[in-house]
Amino acid sequence: MSPQIADQTERPRAEGEGAAPPALVAFQGITKIYGTGMAEVRALDGVDLTIGAGEFVAIMGPSGSGKSTCLNMIGCLDTPTSGSYRFAGVEVGTLSRNQRALLRRHYLGFVFQGYNLLKRTSALENVEMPLVYRRVPGRERRRRAHEALAAVGLQGREHHTPAELSGGQQQRVAVARAIVTAPALLLADEPTGNLDSTTSREIMDLLTELNVERGITIAMVTHEEEMATYARRIVRFLDGRIVVDRERPADRVPGGGGGLAV
């Protein structure tokens, strides 16, 4: 008990930012092991990662290197085998399943690999869903969902179901669903994975805009170097470890990232 409490009180100061708020995401020695014995897979192997508010981070690396595992970990969907993860100063390991659900509900937005929209449900209702769990009343919910759909350029498509939308449009609905709650942190797992390059660029422009204009922190997994150039910072994984962590030149991102104070 007591060492953990000590950790929590000491670490923010150890980061040396004085009165500055704790980083949004702070991994310390995060390890995730799947299976046991011979079949053991270290999906993450002692990862230290800090993401500050306002950053736009691209997570890259070869297939199986642990990118999705890392993103799920950030999203409090997965629990580490060992290591400490603090979200905005809160030790996630001490939270119950329900508390983690509440954390996701109030602070996180997800754009899943392969859209993951509700079938046979209109775009509007898909976007409204996170607001339902936030207990936003119906009228306000619809207003905000319309707004979010307009922000991703889908006016007039509110009542289309996913089956009636193109892949790019579905991905936009997924983005709208993720941003309708104005989350502190947007997590996107290969948001352009299934899209052609034109549509991919549109989605990336949209994410950049959200990052720059609304100050939403973004962590995005991608395979494509081109997409990674939209981010301010690139983190590369290999066999569950971070091998590269560097910022991109400021000229690539209009306006420069928000909270990257180095």
């Binding site: 969907l77 399943r97 659900a101 509440l102 509900r105 869903m129 769990y133 119906g138």
Partner: protein, 402 residues
């Protein structure tokens, strides 16, 4: 939140309308069967108890011999006699009327008309004891009772059959070989539940019937009415004591006669309907169980089919209990709907069958509410396991599920 969850559940059920309707069939049939049976049974019971209370609620019936309630042997015993009747009148306090009765089958003849019926020898106290008013004419006088005069009162059916529209008062009819003057007509009571005509009899003074038609001094039955309902127990007790003494029944011996008040007779009827109710309850339990298993099965399928949806909801921030509620609501609405359809079906069936069976259609709100609540409970009970399975899914696994 609860509203949108209900809307969601309804839509989900509507999407699989065919599957949903087949799923609730078990509950519909079970609830429908029970509702129709209980409604018809309730109609019959209310009719019977209505008749029993129309006999007069303070009425006590005394007969020789004992008749075990649930089958068994009927014990024969000596009949009563006029002295017993007189002793009761003399020694039992708080009685209003004491009417002995002896019956004989007879054929009544007037002019060309004849009608085979029963003649009951009694006293005019009979009318008070059974609370049976005269439609016209008068009762027997004490003189006629003492003398065993051949005068009679006609039941409504007998008057119709013999006289039609003619005036029977003062007319002389023949009962077997004896002539008898009509002095009054009883009010009509109609048919009993068992289809028996309650108005098909003739009343004559006890002594006249004993002497001219039966040929013995026996009293087969006594009607005693207490002055109030509160007094029935005391009157009943006194009757038993007096009759045991008069019939010389020793301390350890069983009665060889039966003293029954209307409450007891009603109890017998109710115990019969109680058996019926238990039986219906068993049918209901079985059909609801079968229906519930059907619902559980379909909900398990539904949870598996919608694993991805559950994963999305959990990832987006739904808590376990919110997912649980969503699925529980679905199963509960499903079974409640089955219950409603079953209730409608059962009532419809009962409404159609009631006139055909000759019983009144009595709507019992209690059983409807119970059926509704029970079907809801089935949905909660059998929906719980699938719903919990949904709530406990791991979000990542659920999202990956193909």
């Amino acid at each position: 939140m609860i509203w949108s969850t209900i809307r969601l559940a309804l839509r989900e059920l509507g999407r699989n309308a065919m599957r949903s309707s087949l799923t609730i069939l078990g509950i519909v049939i079970g609830v429908g069967a029970v509702i129709s049976m209980v409604t018809l049974g309730g109609g019959a019971t209310s009719q019977i108890t209505g008749e029993i209370s129309s006999l007069g609620s303070n009425l006590i019936i005394v007969r020789p011999g004992t008749q075990p309630q649930h089958g068994g042997i009927q014990v024969q015993a000596a009949p009563f006699d006029r002295a017993d009747v007189e002793a009761i009148v003399r020694e039992v306090p708080n009685t209003e009327a004491v009417a002995p009765m002896t019956s004989a089958p007879t054929v009544a003849v007037f002019g060309n008309a004849n009608w085979s019926t029963t003649v009951n020898g009694t006293l005019s106290a009979y009318l008070a004891a059974r609370d049976w008013p005269l439609a016209r004419g008068r009762a027997f006088t004490e003189g006629e009772e003492q003398a065993g005069a051949m005068v009679c009162l006609l039941g409504a059916t007998v008057q119709d059959e013999l006289f039609g529209r003619q005036d029977p008062l003062g007319a002389s009819i023949r009962l077997g070989s004896a002539a008898c003057r009509v002095v009054g007509v009883l009010e009509a009571r109609g048919e009993s539940t068992f289809g028996m005509d309650q108005d098909d009899f003739i009343l004559a003074p006890l002594r006249a019937v004993q002497r001219r038609l039966v040929g013995d001094d026996d009293v087969d039955l006594m009607f005693v009415s207490a002055q109030s309902e509160a007094a029935t127990a005391q009157v009943q007790g006194d009757l038993e004591r007096l009759l045991r003494q008069r019939r010389r029944i020793g301390a350890g011996q069983e009665d060889d006669f039966t003293v029954q008040d209307m409450a007891e007779i009603a109890t017998i009827v109710e115990s019969t309907t109680g058996v019926l109710t238990t039986f219906l309850g068993a049918i209901a339990a079985i059909s609801l169980l079968v229906g519930g298993i059907g619902i559980m099965n379909i909900m398990l399928v539904s949870v598996t089919e919608r694993t991805r949806e559950i994963g999305i909801r959990l990832a987006i921030g739904a808590q376990g209990h919110e997912v649980l509620l969503q699925f529980l609501l679905e199963s509960t609405l499903l079974s409640l709907f089955g219950g409603l359809v079953g209730i409608a079906l059962g009532l419809g069936l009962a409404a159609v069958a009631a006139p055909w069976l000759g019983v009144p259609f009595v709507l019992d709100p209690t059983i409807i509410v119970i059926a509704f609540l029970f079907s809801g409970a089935v949905g909660i009970l059998f929906g719980y396991v699938p719903a919990r399975r949904a709530a406990r899914l791991d979000p990542i696994d659920a999202l990956r599920y193909e």
